[in-house]
Symmetry: C2
Subunit: 227 residues, 2 copies
């Protein structure tokens, strides 16, 4: 007997939000299993032993097959489920172009945006820790470099990251950039193309986009860092 796919996530995580949207957009049947990372539920021995040996989210269990790393999960799901080809194309060149972004983003969009989020919000505002100005500046430089390359290279001459259609690359990028709403940095200032792009991603994926970001928007509305 086939068991439903189990999806372990917390909407406070960017990769978890992207995967949450992907599962809904592609109507992949799954059981939602919330793991409260704020309370450290991903760090328990039980979670490590039974769900994800790396103690991270998101993770899935598909009929006893445990898998982590959201990008690996997209590929696995695309091989097992019928999803619209445009999300993660079968054609080897088109797929390679999506893969190129998915690999590029780790040390660019993800590293830059999440370091900035950590050094300007998570550590100082949420956890009351002191963060040196040098660290914030370094994170800001990395983040701005990634945002500029997305705007000027990836989005050059096309509305979405790899072409005329939305792909998994766009939701992976958008969830990292949208999270900056919690900080005092406006990624769209001076980058109108980036703004037009994220609005297209949102309109193509709603109501799931707003649903996935509801916690982040709530945090942003009441917990901005002091200027």
């Amino acid at each position: 007997m086939s068991k439903p796919l189990k999806f372990y996530y917390d909407l406070m995580s960017q990769p978890a939000r992207a995967l949450y949207m992907f599962l809904k957009l592609n109507q992949i049947p799954h059981e939602q299993c919330v793991v409260n990372i704020g309370r450290g539920e991903h760090l328990t021995d039980e979670y490590e032993k039974n769900i994800n040996r790396f103690k991270k989210i998101p993770a899935i269990i598909d009929n006893d097959f445990k898998l982590s790393e959201s990008i690996a999960i997209y590929r696995y799901l695309a091989s097992k489920h019928k999803i619209a080809d445009s999300w993660y194309p079968e054609d080897s060149k088109k797929r390679a172009r999506v893969d190129e972004y998915l690999e590029w983003q780790h040390l660019n969009t993800r590293l830059g945006c999440s370091l900035y989020f950590m050094t300007t919000w998570l550590l100082p505002v949420l956890m009351g820790q002191k963060v040196s100005e040098e660290k914030v500046e370094q994170a800001k430089t990395q983040m701005e470099n990634a945002l500029d390359i997305i705007t000027n290279v990836w989005l050059k001459d096309k509305p979405f990251i790899v072409g005329n259609e939305i792909t998994v690359a766009d939701i992976v990028a958008a969830t990292e950039i949208e999270q900056l709403v919690v900080t005092n940095y406006n990624p769209y200032e001076g980058r109108p193309k980036l703004k037009a792009w994220i609005e297209s991603v949102r309109s193509k994926t709603n109501p799931h986009y707003d649903d996935a970001h509801k916690m982040i928007y709530r945090v942003a509305s009441r917990n901005k860092p002091k200027l």
Copy 2:
């Protein structure tokens, strides 16, 4: 008329060395195009325009199709060429396990080892820049965390990263870790399992492993950081 695959690389780069080995191990016909990153040949307008818009190596051009990001390149090559299934398995679960490492490594093995290499060798020894002790310690912590997880989680109960056979995950991991030979850090001290693993990877892939690392070994023999 089909043109040969063009491979742009410099053996001073870890991902380039891994891809260099992969192309040879799988006898994929290609034309070697050396790009001297020490001289900034990847930063020219011509390289950006004609080869890789991200100004990085490695990169390929396959019949006018330009692709960067080594992990995306492995997937693309596996879809176009006949390679031994064990390197990057067709089976969706086995492939997902290889993918899980390939995605995990960016912000773990790669980030940790290359930050340590940069802060203890590239910047201070090669470029004569001052690096704060705090930065070195931070890089060391990230690197050691990755090395411990590879040793204790990935290599738990099996000789290679994802099982009993060598896969692309092993060469991607090995090229990052082998590069530490240039630094004063010995990743195998206290990690005999990691030492046994890298020796297996080397013996399974030689003569290509030593060939790919010849420049790194030369640098290591004459240019160690002073203790």
